[in-house]
């Protein structure tokens, strides 16, 4: 399959910012993640082909970073911090409640994450990389539902803006 003409033009613009094209690996992985909704094997191959690397090299880099989802996760990624500042202020409980609430829901992916640098608003969470907190389970569910209904425009699961200045 490979990159379409549009993909290629976008990829060339990204790679042109760097003295060496391989530096574009992370931004191109974000690009294919936005294109496909996840980093699929095809996405890995496309990035590899464009950068003249092997798919194994690209996957090797990709798998090191938590923001790349190598399995489909739905439209919303809810990241709940349980590191120490959140640990003592209800982070693990919030994560557990949200995880149960959305366990059967393919469109919402709840994950436990390391410190989000939002510790003054503990327990903190992100929805597609928008910061929120502090939250109770009820207020967090309400928040996720607002994203789901479109009342709050969601970023992509790479954190790319939904459109316009926000």
């Amino acid at each position: 399959m490979g990159f379409s003409t549009t993909d290629r033009r976008r990829a060339e613009a990204i790679a042109a910012k760097y003295p060496q094209a391989r530096s574009a690996t992370l931004p191109l992985l974000f690009y294919v993640q936005d294109r496909d909704g996840w980093v699929s094997p095809q996405g890995i191959e496309d990035v590899a082909e464009f950068l003249k690397l092997t798919p194994a090299q690209v996957l090797g880099t990709c798998s090191f970073y938590t923001m790349f989802k190598t399995e489909p996760v739905g439209a919303l990624v809810v990241s709940v911090c349980t590191n120490v500042a959140c640990l003592v202020q209800g982070g693990p409980e919030l994560h557990e409640q949200l995880r149960r609430r959305y366990a059967e829901d393919d469109s919402v992916f709840v994950e436990e994450v390391e410190c989000l640098a939002h510790c003054d608003r503990a327990p903190a969470l992100q929805v597609n990389y928008d910061f929120h907190g502090p939250h109770t389970t009820d207020s967090a569910v309400d928040l996720v539902e607002q994203y789901r209904s479109g009342a709050i425009p969601a970023r992509t699961i790479s954190g790319t803006a939904a459109g316009g200045d926000r």
Binding site: K17, Y18, P19, Q20, R22, S23, A24, T25, L26, P27, L29, F30, L51, G60, T61, F64, Y65, T66, M67, F68, S79, T82, N83, V84, A85, L87, V88, Q89, E114, C115, L116, A117, H118, C119, D120, R121, A122, Q126, N128, Y129, D130, F131, R155, G159, T160, A161, D165, R166
Partner: protein, 441 residues
């Protein structure tokens, strides 16, 4: 108790909370980019000297002299690169998060001055991937700077060219290590590299490179505007100027506070952050991000001085993150959670850290769970000493980067401050289990 902030890098963003990140506001009310003229009137070496005179030290964790770092670049070797480290991942640290979201033009201006000082024509800001809004605002700020002729070719008619690239990370703590950052920026796993060669000699693409923290870079325009002596007149001993401290945990008013170094922990925690929440007592606090050994209430009257923290308190001010835990906190639980963090973030390159970090987590887990053995704390110290020989701050290490010793700083803290309490608890747990077995047999 009266304690006040001394706002330098955080002044504008506090004064104009509604639009401080916009080009228009930064230009109109904060003199953004006006220090460029002052900087370009100076020779690059003069800027390096001025920054050395200021005593400015890196605000990311290690506290190395910024001007000194710049002066290590080998003469006459080009191209050179400037990399700005905004991959803020040290648990409990949230100062760069604020700076990038609320004053991106200060960062861009600092980047231009620094690149000019070290004669780099290509600079990168490595920003933590999770900072989506910050990334958006910084990208906008960079666009604005290009559009107004502060970036690109022949800036302000000086003949100096600079390309500034925003590079988003993708979720990984170790990219915040300066050589891990370089590996990541080259499109690889963010694995730290052995030093020497230091980045100043062979950094990005094996070219001379300076890596500075984002708060450090944000300080540069102010040093140019007011002079190195002005900056050095603030602070205490070799800890000059101000720093942003991120205060979190069980306090009344968590947040970022920019204070003159030399203030005491008590003035910061009780005076500014309002002290422990809900009238409770403090059990312990982490004074410099998750990698820093813990301190007790009895240390609250110590000064916030980088060298005093190391020499006298055997800890560090690190990333400037202070987390307070009240009397209801289980230190073992906090220690286990930190161990889990390091086990997850260990990049796997060095054996002592790769193997050690997950074993530390496993042993702490059974201790928290009531499955511990009385000798478990000593067991941790025993294999921990293969990562941190001597187990004493300043930490020696058998690993390439500082993540290795950081896996043990909380364990060392347990041993230092809570040994009796923990051994008693482990003995009690073991005794309970033994009696349970005897009874059920």
């Amino acid at each position: 108790m009266t304690a006040t902030e001394t706002r330098i890098v955080s002044k504008f963003l506090r004064d104009r909370p509604d639009d401080s990140w916009t080009y228009e506001a930064a230009r109109a009310y904060n003199g953004a980019y006006t220090r460029l003229e002052q900087a370009f009137a100076m020779a690059p070496e003069q800027i390096v000297e001025e920054v050395q005179k200021s005593g400015l030290r890196g605000k990311g964790g290690a506290g190395f002299g910024t001007g000194q770092k710049w002066s290590f670049l080998p003469k006459g070797v080009f191209p050179r690169y400037l990399c700005i480290n905004g991959d803020e991942g040290e648990p409990c640290t949230f100062k760069d998060h604020m700076l990038v979201e609320r004053d991106p033009h200060q960062i861009v201006e600092g980047a231009i001055i620094t690149a000019y000082a070290i004669q780099a024509n290509h600079a990168f800001i490595y920003l933590r991937g999770e900072f989506a809004l910050g990334g958006e605002r910084l990208a906008q700020a960079i666009d604005d700077a290009y559009r107004n002729g502060f970036l690109g070719k022949n800036i302000g008619g000086t003949g100096f060219d600079l390309e500034l690239v925003l590079h988003r990370g993708a979720g990984c703590y170790i990219a915040g290590d300066e050589t891990g950052l370089l590996s990541s920026l080259e499109g690889e796993r963010a694995m730290p590299r052995i030093k020497p060669p230091f980045p100043a000699a062979q950094g990005l693409y094996a070219a001379p490179t300076v890596v500075n923290n984002l708060e450090t870079i944000s300080t540069i325009p102010h040093i140019i505007a007011n002079g190195g002596e002005w900056y050095a007149s603030m602070g205490v001993n070799r800890s000059t100027g101000t720093r942003l401290f991120s205060v979190s945990g069980h306090v009344e008013r968590p947040g970022n506070y920019e204070i003159e170094l030399g203030m005491t922990f008590r003035e910061l925690i009780e005076g500014l952050a309002g002290g422990v929440r809900d009238g409770k007592q403090m059990k312990f606090f982490i004074p410099g991000g998750a990698s820093a050994p813990w301190l007790l209430p009895e240390h609250l009257d110590s000064p916030l001085d980088l060298d005093f923290a190391g020499a006298e308190l055997r800890t560090m001010l690190g990333s400037g993150a202070i987390t307070i835990f009240d009397e209801t906190t289980d230190p073992l639980l906090v220690s286990w959670r930190l161990a889990k963090f390091y086990a997850h973030e260990s990049c796997g390159k060095c054996t002592p850290c790769r193997e050690g970090s997950s074993w530390i987590e496993k042993v702490l887990y059974r201790m928290v769970k009531g499955q511990g053995r009385p000798e478990d704390l000593d067991l941790l110290l025993s294999f921990g000493s293969t990562i941190v020989p001597g187990l004493n701050a300043p930490f020696a290490q058998t690993t390439i980067c500082a993540l290795g010793p950081s896996t043990m700083s909380h364990v060392v803290s347990l041993d230092r401050w809570f040994r009796d309490e923990i051994v008693e608890r482990l003995t009690h747990d073991a005794d309970l289990r033994r009696r349970l077995e005897v009874t059920s047999a």
